[in-house]
Amino acid sequence: MGYPHPSHARETPVLSQYFGDQDGIGLDGWRKRGGYNGLQKALSMSPAEIVDVVKASGLRGRGGAGFPTGIKWSFMKPGDGKPHYLCCNADESEPGTFKDREIMRWTPHALVEGCAIGAYAIGAETAYIYIRGEFTEPLIRMRQAVREAYDAGIIGKNAMGSGKRIDIVIHKGAGAYICGEETAMMNSIEGRRGNPRIKPPFPAVSGVFAQPTTINNVETLAAVPHIIVRGAEWYKGLSLSSPKSTGSKLFSVCGNIAKPGNYEVTLGFPFKDFLYDLCGGPLPGRTFKAVVPGGISVPIQTMEEAEATKMDYEGFIDQGSMLGSGGVIVFDDQQNMVKQIARAARFFAHESCAQCTQCREGTAWTTKIMERIRDGEGTHEDLDTLFSIADNMTGKTICVLSDSCAVPVVSGINKFRSEFEALIKKPKFHPVTAAVA
């Protein structure tokens, strides 16, 4: 299968195997495709055994930070007498990323199953799935899947006859990129404004409703049933980059490219082949100029860097960027980088929750200066000012949205400086000559 394109022969469809398959959406069809075998097996294991398998698989968080999932789960101490919570992050708002959407549209039961296993493994009786409010169709499909799972006794007060209670609750967001940040999401679920919280305490100690909480991305949780059924060794073996980066990963591809869409490849796949072979290369008569490989928050790559990249956590860092959320944005020779970086800055200015001065002021000023350079009103000093603002925005705030705004600006100026300079027509300001004139 595959959606919106049939799977390419060089893809490794694990999560995306049933994308585009209408018959896999409902519970009956999903069961015929092996659905809930993972949960059944998991419920016969102890939570600690599940955590060990996930640890051994090397699965890393697919939401952006790449933290090892099994280790995250092991922070949840069983038998501490407190209610534990699992929050599934389905807020997917990182520009360039649209993979969780397809998981929820085509394989909603895969996520229900992943959440149920995750909840059991961390000793939680309740899992909240926080879905961004704009995702009309994923919300419908997920609500339907949860209802079917309750009706079939798969979840609820006696999940699959195990005697364990597992409640799954869909929580609809209401428009705020920042609610994808884990502590902001917990505030939002509690019924507050979605401001990120200062860490520590970390969520595993004091998370949603001040109780031990684990937050995982949709893709992370959807991979878990496969790992439980087929084992950690199988998962590691999928990857060309084991043991550091294991398994398969969905990459969303958008922008100026022949075949935008979602592609699932083994980690370690060559990025050059990915862009030119799987995704069909540039549009007719055009050439690629730049790639942002992991959502708008990661550094821009030149084509030279992109074509030398091995697609895994380390490989993107080696070539000047990061894997991030796996949202690949491709720019071709028709695009002006200054204009597009200015638009990215505007995104961050709009989405800043505004509680940190560096972020509130920094995102606004970055946008203002970027837009005046774009409009031909910039000066050479503006580039220095942008660097100085970026410096003040990095590593100094409650969450990393502030850092993220600086990233495309700094990497953009460093890698595409000539495009900035071409727009700066005013001569450099010299106090002395200005005074004489």
Binding site: E92, E134, H171, S188, R193, G194, N256, G327
Partner: protein, 169 residues
């Protein structure tokens, strides 16, 4: 696509009666606090009324044992809650970088011109349309996605705008 009409001078009719009240009450057991039901409660108000008025916020405050000021603070954080009436069709066009490089600005321009709105955020004289730009809708591979009320239209180009508008009666 649902469309909601509003009469501004009519006295406020509570939302949380009958089925809606039951729907809200059914959520309480899944959360340790009533406050956690604020987003779902606000969604119910907006689904029924098209937007959330001060009276709507006060009602949510009352049913969840909060203050109206607190509820307003929450409402204003989230961009999807309308604190003003909008047109029968609220048209939201993504213009963030990935869609921008695929021509999203032309799509916005076409909607503004052909709905008669002329300007972002303004409701057309016939009360039918409001057009706004929004940030990434999480569908960047289907540039340009446009939300029309709850509905999602993928791969919109300026050329498709007349056909889309013709479908909105």
């Amino acid at each position: 696509m649902t469309a909601v009409t509003h009469d501004h001078d009519a006295p406020y009719q509570p939302v949380f009666v009958g089925e809606r009240r039951k729907e809200l009450d059914a959520l309480f057991p899944f959360y340790p606090t009533k406050m956690a039901c604020i987003l779902p409660a606000l969604w119910m108000v907006q689904e029924d009324r098209g937007w959330i008025s001060d009276e709507g916020m006060a009602e949510v405050a009352e049913v969840l044992e909060l203050t109206p000021a607190y509820v307003k603070g929450v409402v204003t954080f989230y961009t999807m809650y309308n604190t003003h009436p909008v047109g029968k069709y609220l048209i939201q066009v993504c213009t963030t970088t990935p869609c921008n490089i695929c021509g999203a600005e032309d799509v916005v321009g076409a909607f503004l011109e052909q709905t008669g709105c002329g300007e972002l955020g303004i409701t057309s004289a016939d009360g039918k349309f409001t057009v706004i730009e929004v940030e990434c809708l999480g569908a960047c591979g289907f540039a340009t996605p446009v939300m029309i009320n709850e509905g999602f239209v993928e791969s919109v180009t300026a050329a498709r705008v007349p056909e889309i508008l013709a479908g909105l009666k």
